[in-house]
Symmetry: C2
Subunit: 201 residues, 2 copies
DNA sequence: GTATTAACCGTCCGATCGGTCAGCTCGCAG
DNA sequence: CTGCGAGCTGACCGATCGGACGGTTAATAC
């Protein structure tokens, strides 16, 4: 128990939830039961307030979703930007992107989980899907480039390789839980993705 | 256009949908919009009949879900049974399980997709999750066994290896679409999973 | 032509959905 | 002790939810 060196300014008004704490709990609940499977009444109960109080913090259910997926997307594109700035071979940028993405998944697990489960039912969800496709496109280009460099196996279609690679990375949301062994998960992902599960002959 | 050699027995009664055709379209719709995001009215519209007509074929929305996920689980456990019957090293049984699972994913894509997205909100969904966990347990044991044989890299926790392996396999539901190039997808998955995306030194 | 079988329709229901609105409560600042 | 900002309540709304029910329609079988 370390006392955090009071960085927060003094809170005015009646104490209780603010937008951030509502968002945190909302996202956690959305992940447990699904966005459509979670009612605002469910959320209110979990928050310990009434449904109408939620609308003091956020104008709509959709907006909660938007805030969450945008946060996840912003972090992921932050990694993309840092990866693209690296001088060197494409496979090095790819490895940075993989490790960085794993780090984002781990640090922002609930937000990324929600992002990876949107369906495209609404404008908000379709916008999120569009940005996800852009991310996937960048990954595919990087894999293609690395294959042209002769650093990635040429016997599998680079588009398929890219999908499988990030299929593995993204699967983290289904089973990785922080603070339960699984130390340096990025290292484990990188090893298995780049060199496979089999021992070398 | 080949005329299929009439294997079907003559249908009695008024023509239209039967349980199977309702299930097919329901599962497709559930995958597009999510189970909770799809109303029975939505489904009725897609079927071209009224909502009440659906209840002639199936007693509840939950039952549609149950039929779908059970079909997927039955196929997957069929592969498990055939894998466990193989004499040989654990890694051979594991490779059979991977390739067989990919085949099931491809052949029963909508059903498996629905299975891999259940949340556990209802009794039906929790039962499906329980069978999924049993499947995962079998995979983890197989990976552990293969690692003890010295056939799988010992520098990653076998539980993590198992998760990443099937994380990759299961990611197929997110992007694989039949009849669009991507020939012998099982071969591609096996190569990348067992030997990695990098070229051998 | 008359059963039998299977598919379907229209109407209705109680519950729940996301969301609105006017007013109330709590705590710090001056 | 008053003003005010932030958080919250309770009552309510139209729409939609999954589902029930009694009657109808279209095909084959005899």
């Amino acid at each position: 128990m370390t006392t955090t060196p009071q960085a927060r300014t003094v809170r005015r008004g009646r104490p209780g939830h603010d937008l951030e704490s509502v968002l945190q709990i909302a996202v956690r609940l959305f992940n447990e039961r699904g966005y459509d499977g979670t009612s605002m009444e469910d959320l209110a109960r979990k928050l310990g307030i009434t449904k109408s109080a939620i609308y003091h913090h956020v104008p709509s259910k959709q907006e909660l979703l938007r805030l969450a997926v945008d946060r996840a997307l912003d972090r992921l594109f932050g990694v993309v930007a840092r990866a693209e700035a690296i001088d060197g071979r494409a496979i090095e940028r790819l490895e940075y992107l993989v490790r960085g993405s794993v780090a984002v998944l781990v640090e922002q697990l609930p937000f990324v989980t929600l992002l990876l489960r949107v369906h495209g039912n609404t404008k908000v969800e379709r916008a999120a899907l569009a940005r996800r496709r852009e991310f996937d496109r960048i990954v595919a280009n990087l894999v293609t480039e690395a294959e042209n460099d002769g650093d990635i196996r040429p016997d599998v279609d680079p588009a398929v390789t890219a999908r499988l690679l990030f299929g593995m990375v993204n699967s983290l949301i289904e089973w990785y839980r922080p603070g339960r062994g699984d130390s340096d998960i990025a290292e484990a992902v990188a090893r298995i993705a780049f060199d496979g599960i089999r021992v070398r002959a």
